[in-house]
């Protein structure tokens, strides 16, 4: 018999509903995997096996009583530790929030519990979601379950949703929440051979999600395949009057409308994404993806997104600027860390608390953000960046007059080794080169595993869609998935 932990969201839900196995059995199996891998992978900041069991028991009881089951009934998931969970420590992987126990539940997590999911634990991430390698967590690096053949060098699971991607790849959970500010769902998915979708900005409520950059942050779903992503996203998404940027539109039945047939669809290939020095393997997997798209019946068209090269610099002004302000609330007064040196006044307490509570990357971004907003520089940096952002958005709008979706690589390389880029923030930022433009424009985008590089590490392809056209993105993803036949999984070394 297949291991329960090899099953995905749909299979677990259907198996529980059919009585093939109980929700408690599923929760126990994943709880065991979580516990067994914690020392090696460090994917979770806190495991909550009792929560998973409690939710599973409720589902089993509901089934026994003949009650209707939710779309994720019996499915235990991992919750990125950026989502506030009532009564369960929520840290954003920071020392600042160590021990912080929210008295409220984020809208997205509440919706998932409502759909019948249970919580295996709070997943590790880059501190305040700032990073692309999961090396900025106060609670230690997440280690990818993937290794290069013949090497035990520790690889990055990507970031910032690296706990999520590692846990799914290692079968510690069938699905997880992620958040994506500049690629934090898609890049880790690509690095770990998993699937992740960031919906249109405003689809998922930001209420109760620790903020990094408000105009970019968007929650999304991560799982092993496109169908499971659709199920999870459908449960997470929806209008929330508590979030002013939440979109007041109905959530379509994405799962029910999934189709791998791209006949009559046009797939755009943005020429500016062929960046200098792109590894041949990335180029090759992209060409392969183009061929798959044609095979699925799509017409492939080259398009131009002329301002692409400015996207990263734009992002690295806007995101730190917003972060510098969003993170001002961590001051040691109402919650979280307080560092009060002897004889310190209020302002000294702030400075000491924030020095002790934030990691180096967070401080770096707060300082950049503070600088670009400061008197005399605001227009040159921030206003100019928001103008370029408008141009980037217009580029996409023009492209989408010609095509239905865009197909690009997700990241410029496969996963790199931990420690490789830590000393060079700029090199680290370049990981997001393909994912950041869609974030700036608020567009739905996903990464699907497409193949392995010469070293046996996963590579992903990215599909970007029109605003609110998650269906188009999911369908194109499904078409790629069907043709890629990606079945590789990391050997269990932990």
């Amino acid at each position: 018999m297949t291991e329960l932990t090899d099953l995905g969201v749909a299979a677990i839900r259907d198996g529980v509903a059919a009585g093939t196995f109980s929700a408690v059995e599923v929760a126990e199996a994943f709880n065991a995997n979580v516990a067994a891998a914690q020392g090696a992978l460090n994917a979770f900041i806190v495991a909550t096996p009792e929560k998973a069991i409690e939710a599973a028991k409720a589902i089993d009881a509901a089934r026994a009583s003949g009650a209707a089951l939710g779309p994720m009934a019996g499915v235990p998931i991992g919750m990125k530790d950026l989502f506030a969970t009532q009564g369960v420590q929520t840290t954003a992987a920071s020392h600042m929030l160590e021990g912080f126990v929210p008295q409220y539940e984020s809208t997205v997590s509440a919706k998932l519990w409502e759909a019948g999911a249970g919580m295996l634990g709070k997943l590790n991430l880059d501190q305040f979601a700032m990073g692309s390698s999961n090396e900025s967590s106060y609670f230690g690096n997440v280690i990818s379950p993937w290794q290069r053949p013949g090497s035990n060098a520790q690889l990055t699971p990507g970031g910032s949703s690296g706990g999520s991607s590692a846990a799914i790849a290692a079968r510690l959970c069938p699905a997880a929440t992620g958040t994506d500010t500049g690629g934090s769902i898609r890049q880790p998915a690509a690095y770990t051979g998993t699937t992740g979708i960031k919906p249109t900005y405003g689809r998922c409520s930001r209420w109760g999600v620790v903020a990094f950059a408000s105009s970019l942050d968007q929650a999304g779903a991560m799982a092993r395949d496109v169908t499971d992503c659709a199920i999870v996203l459908e449960a997470m998404a929806g209008f929330d009057p508590k979030d002013s940027t939440s979109l007041d539109v109905a959530v379509p039945a994405w799962t029910a409308s999934l189709s791998a047939d791209l006949k009559g669809k046009k797939v755009g290939i943005p020429r500016e994404y062929r960046v200098d020095g792109m590894p041949a393997e990335i180029d090759a997997i992209w060409e392969q993806g183009i061929a798959w798209a044609r095979d699925a019946g799509a017409e492939v068209v080259e398009v131009s997104l002329p301002h692409t090269k400015y996207a990263l610099a734009t992002y690295y002004i806007i995101a730190p600027a917003e972060a510098s302000s969003n993170l001002a609330r961590y001051d040691g007064v109402r919650y979280g860390l307080r560092d009060l040196p002897d004889g310190a006044g209020l302002q000294d307490m702030y400075a000491a608390t924030r020095a002790a509570g934030f990691g180096p990357e967070v401080k770096r971004r707060i300082l950049i953000g503070t600088y670009v907003l400061s008197a005399g520089f605001y227009d040159a940096y921030y206003t100019q960046a928001q103008k370029v952002r408008a141009l980037i958005s217009q580029d996409f709008a023009k492209a989408f007059e010609q095509v239905d979706v865009l197909l690009t690589p997700t990241a410029p390389s496969a996963a790199f080794a931990l420690g490789e880029n830590v000393d060079d923030p700029l090199a680290m930022y370049l990981n997001d080169v393909f994912t950041v433009p869609a974030s700036l424009a608020g567009l739905p985008a996903m990464s699907v595993p497409a193949g392995l590089d010469a070293q046996g590490l996963p590579l992903g392809l990215q599909i970007i869609g029109r605003p609110l056209d998650e269906q188009g993105v999911l369908n194109a993803g499904l078409a790629i998935e069907a043709r890629a036949g990606f079945t590789a999984r990391p050997g269990k070394w932990w």
Binding site: G208, A211, S244, S325, R334, L373, Y378
Partner: protein, 500 residues
């Protein structure tokens, strides 16, 4: 326009004062600007605080429509431009009363633009003519929390009940040139806000407070460097602060010093201002559009609703009182100066007209005169206001009707009012009970007149010889003999005919 002649007489000559006010007015609303917690004054600490007001991680602001409606109505009341597209910015700084580490405000695109209001001429106060004072803008922003310093030896305590309450910041042009003008501006602004209902104007509860910008210059010179005195919370204090600050600045300049642009505090105990050291380090607020909020776009229908809901405003009401009701300029000004006053007056007027079966315009003068010269004076003596007047407008109208119909005289009415204030009884009841009804019976009055004329033969002779001023004497004697209850008109007529 005649310029104010207010000058500071320095050792080296005259100085002109230039004043601008930034008034923070708490918007009347049930709940806060961006959260659902209550705004009521005087609650237990931190009970009117939501997760949003405490800036918990992941909390987001959602705008209260009522606060926007009130700001728009206020803008309309000062004939200001209403900006159909506005947005909120973050003003970033660290302080214990500011949980988010930023205040949500409107720097770049305020909801209300240029407007103005008119302050009335007041010779006594040195305002020779009515003057238009420009309002540069009104924007909506969050209030901060409150710090308490005297509860613990080494700690300050933070209460966030006020944190996030909606304020309108109403920024004037530097159009005022004397403490009196600034006082008149603040009073007028308060009146308008209270008419509109967008702010209760309770300055002692902090619902309205002013930041006072003052500079001095030689008449006709360029503007001098200004100082800003923060959070002054009464009209009198604003005038005192200006007076003190202007004189201080003149002293500094004449002493060879320079004015430093700084924030100052007003001390109500000494009437003086002092530099606020804790805020001295240069601020860089790093304003930028709040990414948690979207642009605020006002629909025409919303604006029309706002306009339609505006009451008659003070200037229009005053003009109507003078024109339609025929009141004196002074009475019209007094009666329209405050919401409580005009509401009392209008209720009295309606009751009075009804009681006497006349049009309001026919009894308006009677009602206005009585209210201002009788009731105000009487209440003043008792240390009471209209709000807690023991005399209701129904009873007052009854009293005026008794006078109007000639049942009692004006002087008896004063007596009746005294009793009304003491007992709270109705005028008719009192008049009956005390037997104060006026005597209009010609026979009774004639008999008394005859007695008086007989007893004062010499004065009658003098009168007939041309000393007509004695007529008043005869009236007085008659009234006295009638214990004040004779109808004066009848007395006059009888005296005239008897004296020939």
């Amino acid at each position: 326009m005649t310029e104010s002649t207010y000058r500071i007489q320095g050792a080296t000559g005259d100085w002109e004062v230039v004043i601008g006010l930034e008034v923070h007015a708490q918007v009347t609303s049930n709940s806060k600007l961006f959260s659902g917690s209550a705004t009521a004054f005087g609650a237990e600490p931190n009970t009117q605080v939501s997760l949003i007001d405490a800036a918990m991680p992941g909390m987001l602001p959602v705008l209260n429509g009522e606060c926007i409606r009130q700001a728009v109505r206020t803008g309309m009341a000062i004939d200001a431009q209403i900006n159909k597209w506005s947005r909120f910015d973050r003003k970033n700084y660290f302080y214990a009363d500011l949980p988010q580490g930023y205040q949500i405000s409107q720097l770049y695109h305020p909801i209300v633009g240029e407007g103005s209001l008119t302050i009335e001429a007041d010779e006594k106060a040195g305002i020779p003519e009515a003057k238009v004072i420009g309002v540069e803008r009104i924007h909506v922003e969050q209030d901060a929390g409150k710090l308490m310093h005297d509860q613990h030896p080494t700690m300050s305590y933070v209460d966030l009940n006020r944190s996030g309450v909606a304020l309108m910041e109403i920024v004037s042009r530097p159009d005022m040139t004397s403490p009196a003008e600034a006082g008149a501006y603040l009073s007028k602004l308060r009146t308008i806000l209270r008419y509109v209902g967008s702010c209760d104007g309770n300055m002692d509860q902090g619902s309205m407070r002013a930041d006072v910008n003052v500079s001095v210059r030689r008449p006709g010179d360029e503007l001098g460097t200004r100082t800003e005195t923060k959070n002054v919370n009464s009209v009198r204090f604003v005038m005192q602060a200006i007076e003190h600050e202007a004189n201080r600045q003149v002293d500094v300049i004449e002493g060879g010093g320079k004015i430093v642009q700084e924030t100052r505090l007003f001390d109500p105990n000494t009437g003086s201002t002092r530099s606020m050291r804790s805020k001295e380090d240069a601020h860089d607020y790093r304003y930028f559009p709040d990414p948690d909020l979207l642009p605020l776009v006002l629909e025409d229908a919303f604006l029309e609703d706002c306009r339609a809901s505006l009451p008659e405003l003070p200037d229009a009401k005053r003009a109507r009182y003078e024109g339609e009701l025929g009141l004196s300029a002074y009475n019209a000004a007094v009666l329209t100066a405050d919401v409580d006053t005009f509401q009392w007056f209008e209720a009295l007027l309606a009751e009075t007209a009804l009681a006497q079966g006349k049009q309001p315009a026919e009894v308006a003068k009677q009602a206005a005169n009585w209210l201002i010269s009788e009731l105000f004076g009487a209440l003043n003596k008792l240390g009471k206001s209209l709000e807690d007047s023991p005399v209701s407008h129904e009873h007052a109208a009854e009293l005026l009707a008794l006078v109007g119909k000639g049942t009692i005289s004006g002087s008896i009415a004063k007596q009746v009012l005294e009793i009304m204030l003491e007992t709270g009884d109705g005028a008719t009841v009192i008049v009956e009970r005390e037997g104060l009804k006026q005597e209009s019976d010609t026979g009774a009055i004639e008999a008394k007149v005859d007695e008086i004329l007989a007893a004062n033969g010499d004065k009658v002779a003098q009168y007939r010889e041309g000393k007509v001023a004695l007529f008043g004497f005869f009236v007085g004697q008659t009234m006295k003999a009638m214990q004040g209850k004779a109808n004066p008109q009848v007395v006059n007529e009888i005296l005239k005919s008897k004296l020939g």
